[in-house]
Symmetry: C2
Subunit: 448 residues, 2 copies
């Protein structure tokens, strides 16, 4: 899997397979031991059984290898004494022979710029470099982020899965991303930390330099137990974590979906100065729901001033519509009226940003339906440029196959135009609310 | 739209278009006025302008029409005095001439059994009759439920969109569904009620007869304002609503997605006696997240007893897995090991039901990947039968086109086998937790 991943991504350095029984693997000459490799070796990826890894680290030390990534599992996370003993030994040997160890029990490094991919089957987009650095104690979350992220328009500088953290840990990796010029936003999935005070200091420094988003796994009894059998980490008290993250100025999320939503906001939205949202879409019930979930997420949905309502009314029939905010209007199907509606709502100084919610399946069965949908996106793009107000787009589908296909296309068009896309108003509202929370933190830090 | 909807669904009664200017519409003879129709008329659907509707009700009275559904909008929801006056007039005339009025400002009646559809382009599944009765003050939510519900495997007895409720209101419709033999579960989207005490009594009776799920729109300041411009309703105090619904034994949801998720649980799960869930899937981080969201949703994720863990360990490698619950194992790709894992977890008396989470894209690029995924579903179906424990399936996709296609297929297979499908563990956990809340309410009511 790792070898094919490297070959598929077009890694440009030398690749040396090592296997005591093979002479050739995937067309590359194979060596019985790292020490037999002719040239210098920077990094080793280990998939050998756990009990053989101490000798590997010794050999890597002898060879002058800088880092060893142990995909190998079966250490402290197993709950067995032998596993914990082996893991401690790895770190000790590494320190003695001058080799840094990543893992064990992890996926290692995904770095598009270096054409280093930790998995096969990644899309072209997954291999494109970006500005999000993600460290993850979970290999699965690292892979999911590398797969789901690009579909949502995210691009990563580095994704580092570090598992049991016997040597290189969350704190050192965080420190690295803080100073990494390719990384502008830091995301972290953490299950535990080993040196609390040091972590706290480094986290604060990181959050002062860049936006830091933390998804902490293990906040319930069962989650804490799952953490210990996943990476052998001590999840720690929920109260301590909560205040630690707040004090550091870190934004906290509670699921991987929430993390990805928030990264979409950071990747596609300019700073938003306050919490007043203008909501535009079709449907009275949908508008009521949008208003409720926005305010529940901590946003404000202010009533539009009378003069703006009057202006919208000039081209919006009274029946079956509302122009108070949320604006509920079928006129979104008329490109001119839709553009003008966006312009009027976004043009009001009382609005800081817009959420526009669209059901991709309306008119899907009409031949002109798709063209109308494209015209809507054009209107949004044009009006965002003209008004300068950030816009979050919500694309909804009933889940029928044709609808999902249209959704994929339209989402792609939005992303290419730099528009963030979410799957529901509540997910958009939550992400943008946290995004604003970050900028509020910066403002209050500056004024303090 | 309505005429085409009726023709598409194959409505078997007589359909008479009425239009003062036409002699034929969609191949049917058209009449200048309802009074000119030769045969008896049960139900009239009105799309005429608001100011003409009082005369329509008069004419319907003269003709002996039983009910008039007013799609026509522009009444009290407009915020204009004239609209409110007209709406009151409609109700008065209806009472005087013996015609019941549904609406105004609504989509009316969707009743698959009577082949009455309120929209065009519905799928075959949308037109199949089922046991869910849904009354909705929002026409949009009614249409969305009719579209999204069937994709998720829901079938409706009736969907009734009732808008401004000038005559037939939520209370009377609720009373109707309570006694409707075709309806086994009642869902309601409400924005306000006009007669609180009467509603409270009827709601309690309904909840004693059948499960009742209420999605109340307008729980925030902006939501309340949106309600008044949507259906002219008074949203009422959030505190009063909350205690009213609790006292009546009604389950409350906060978004349309949550409503649909809960209806999936009611449609596809047998009663669940307690809150202990066994979680099976792939991924350490995913398992930690699953444990956290399950417990946050009010479920319990108990540690499996040592003897069951030992039995699972017999065929599950130590490295990269956990057998404590959540069970995190790559062995789900081996049909035999996966079946045995389900059997062992579900077989323990400490487990009341299972959540199994699958990423549809793993192995998607391998030729045998799809067959393996099908084999997994087969294992789940067989083991559900053998152990008798309810199982909720979570199907996840990264959102790439091929993945979404596989998701559609696999979801369809699950639904055909009677397995409920959710899009994330947190949505599944929340829905099942509320589903159990209903059964707990029944148990405590019985013991009281």
């Amino acid at each position: 899997m790792f070898l094919r991943g490297l070959l598929e991504s077009g890694y440009e350095g030398e690749i040396y397979p090592v296997n005591p029984k093979a002479t050739e693997i995937s067309g590359l000459k194979s060596y019985p031991n790292v020490k037999d490799i002719p040239g210098p070796v920077d990094h080793v990826i280990s998939l050998i059984p756990a009990h053989l890894t101490p000798q590997l680290i010794e050999d890597c030390g002898a060879k002058g290898v800088k880092t060893v990534h142990l995909f190998t599992a079966g250490f402290s996370e197993s709950g067995e004494e032998e596993g914990a003993r082996l893991e401690a030994e790895l770190a000790d040997i590494g320190r003695r022979v001058g080799v840094r160890v990543l893992g064990p029990n992890c996926m290692g490094i995904h770095c598009p710029k270096a054409r280093l991919a930790f998995n096969i089957g990644f899309t072209r987009e997954s291999k494109e470099s970006g500005t999000i650095g993600f460290i993850s104690q979970s290999g699965g979350h690292a892979v999911t982020a590398a797969e789901v992220g690009p579909v949502r328009g995210l691009r990563f500088s580095k994704i580092i899965s570090y598992g049991n953290a016997c040597d290189l840990d969350e704190t050192e990796l965080l420190e690295y991303l803080t100073h990494d010029p390719d990384t502008e936003v830091i995301a972290a999935y953490l299950e535990g930390v080993k040196d609390g005070p040091r972590f706290q200091r480094v986290l604060r420094e990181a959050a002062q330099a860049k936006p830091v988003i933390v998804f902490k796994g293990g906040r319930t009894e069962a989650g804490t137990r799952a953490v210990s059998s996943h990476t052998g980490a001590l999840a720690g008290s929920e109260t301590i974590w909560d205040s630690l993250l707040k004090q550091a100025g870190v934004i906290r999320v509670y699921t991987l979906d929430e993390l990805i939503d928030l990264l979409v906001a950071f990747s596609y939205m300019p700073p938003i100065r306050a919490r007043n949202v203008g909501v535009i879409g079709v449907g009275g019930g949908a508008s009521v729901e949008a208003a409720d979930v926005c305010e529940s997420a901590g946003l404000r949905v202010p009533l539009l001033p009378l003069e703006i309502r009057r202006e919208i009314r000039e081209f919006t029939p009274l029946a079956g519509s509302s122009v108070r905010n949320p604006v509920d209007t079928l006129e979104i199907w008329s490109p001119e009226a839709f553009s003008r509606t966006i312009e009027l709502v976004a043009g009001w100084e009382g609005i800081d940003f817009l959420i526009i919610h669209l059901a991709v399946e309306t008119n899907i069965n009409r031949p002109e339906g798709r063209a109308l949908l494209d015209a809507m996106i054009d209107s949004i793009i044009t009006m965002r440029g003209r008004t300068g107000k950030p816009i979050a787009v919500v694309l909804r589908s009933s889940g029928i196959r044709l609808g999902l296909e249209v959704l994929c296309d339209v989402q792609q068009r939005c992303l290419e135009a730099g528009l963030p896309v979410f799957s529901s108003v509540d997910r958009a509202a939550l992400a943008v609310s946290r995004f604003i929370q970050y900028h509020e933190g910066c403002l209050s830090a500056r004024s303090a």
